[in-house]
Subunit: 296 residues, 2 copies
């Protein structure tokens, strides 16, 4: 795991450098917008989604430059979603990764616009010629990213989350659907993007689909566990918010021990999907343990 | 002009029907999101942007179905921008086209998410196989739409607008840049999309670029004139807001007569760009007069 941590950090650094080059340092009267976009996208972060794109794509022989660009596009979507989720009318969070959220560091209008423009930037980056030489591959990525982030993906999941607990109740099926959409769709697409860029066959894609599905759920269950147990200094954000807001989580339904057990079960299952790839999938397996054991 | 009005209405109806089919009537707990997206995108509207795509593309021989899809994608971007611009932290408008704005009819969180998801939907529609048989054409449209809506286009222009009057002052250069970005970029892209779908040559593209540039500015000058003079029942939204908010507009800088004169001058210039196309461009010429003389 020490070596996994080093690889994750190395990948995060490369993504940050690439994003720094892709997100213009605009001058002129609109410079405030570019500044807020860069504050959100270039701040501290594990960059777990681009890491998954790079790891899956490298395993399948995809070109490095395209993987990095696709990972940056996905990270822009993730960054935009965090800005909007933190807004006062949404989750109303003042702190994210140990820093003031964008609407606190700037203002609410700037935060909304920075999220909007990061979404446009994501599609511009993904569609760009450097992502892959074949237009049809880039188009598949654009369509996949739009689906993962739209009404049947991330945005739809956040809508259900805003309506929780009324809509979720104690129904673990609805809760799973919520997180499958809210965080799972983009995590799944991060893995899928690597396979698309490698032009992988359907066996590989299906195996990675199963893997990513379980990984996304583990990610959310651990998030709920961290919120229920964590210290703000560890999580880098406000904790115990779910309980204060009366939200349904995997912990409120399954209890702490039940949620941990569920996550461990999913972790074993996620690794089984990778059997197809032998030892070349070791880094993706390590990623399961990392997500399972993370403390922030 | 009577026949122009009929053609505009016919085009608007077709766009509304196509959008109705493209924007899913989702069920499940996230149905509220789909409902808000449809409320915003399918409500009353002139659909002037898709009209421009259809008119330019038909003139140049593009396929009808692709023009309609591209027009729908552009209308989704326009609809999302109106939802977000109307938010309390932005322009704080309660009424739009004679109906409650989305954050009034629903709530603020739903409005933010509906805008976000309409942006994703726009890219998904544009990238779809039915837009054009050649992937490279669809990619060019995706890239163009992302640029027109992003930090150097619509979102960047709205950022400058939020910082007005401090940043704009009485500088007509900055004001023109603001509107060139905020409304001009998407209007220009609407015309360009028709040319891209027709795979038109560079002479035609450059002529249409000049035309669309001027049309966008006329549109904004007339907006400022309507705001300064209009009655809410005509404009379908709150008026006199610019003056109340101390905003710089073409009217505050040029005066009512000066702004009218500027718009008329631009209208003549816009029509000159169309000389290349002879009488086949009559509908685009009529569109200039329509935008110049519109009362809402």
């Amino acid at each position: 795991m020490a070596s996994f941590q080093a690889q994750l950090e190395e990948s995060a650094d490369r993504v940050t450098v690439a994003l720094d080059a892709l997100l213009a340092r605009a001058d002129g009267p609109e410079a405030r917008l570019a500044s807020a976009m860069r504050y959100a996208a270039l701040g501290p972060g594990k960059r777990i989604r681009p890491f998954l794109t790079l790891a899956a794509g490298r395993m399948l022989g995809a070109d490095e430059r395209g993987l990095l660009r696709a990972g940056c596009a996905i990270e822009c979507i993730h960054a935009y979603s965090l800005i909007h989720d933190d807004l006062p009318s949404m989750d109303d969070d003042d702190v994210r990764r140990g820093r003031p959220t964008v609407h606190i560091a700037y203002d609410e209008a700037t935060a909304i616009l920075a999220g909007d423009a990061l979404q446009s930037a994501a599609f511009e980056i993904m569609a760009g010629a450097d992502t892959h030489p074949h237009p049809s591959v880039r188009l598949a990525l654009v369509e996949g990213l739009a689906k993962a982030s739209g009404a049947r993906g991330m945005a739809g999941g956040q809508m259900i989350d805003m309506l929780s607990p009324q809509r979720v109740g104690d129904d673990i099926g609805v809760l799973t659907r919520l997180h499958r959409m809210k965080t799972g769709a983009l995590i799944s697409f991060s893995v899928e993007a690597g396979a698309v860029l490698a032009e992988a066959g359907s066996d590989a894609r299906h195996a990675l689909e199963g893997y990513a599905h379980d990984l996304g759920l583990i990610y959310q269950i651990v998030d709920d566990l961290l919120d229920a147990e964590g210290l703000p200094s560890i999580a880098g954000k406000a904790v115990n918010k779910d309980a204060r807001q009366g939200k349904t989580t995997f912990v409120t339904i399954l209890g702490v021990d039940g949620a941990r057990e569920r996550a461990r079960h999913l972790a074993a299952q996620a690794k089984e999907y990778l059997a197809l790839f032998g030892s070349s999938a070791n880094i993706l397996k390590d990623c399961v343990d990392f997500v399972l054991e993370r403390r922030s």
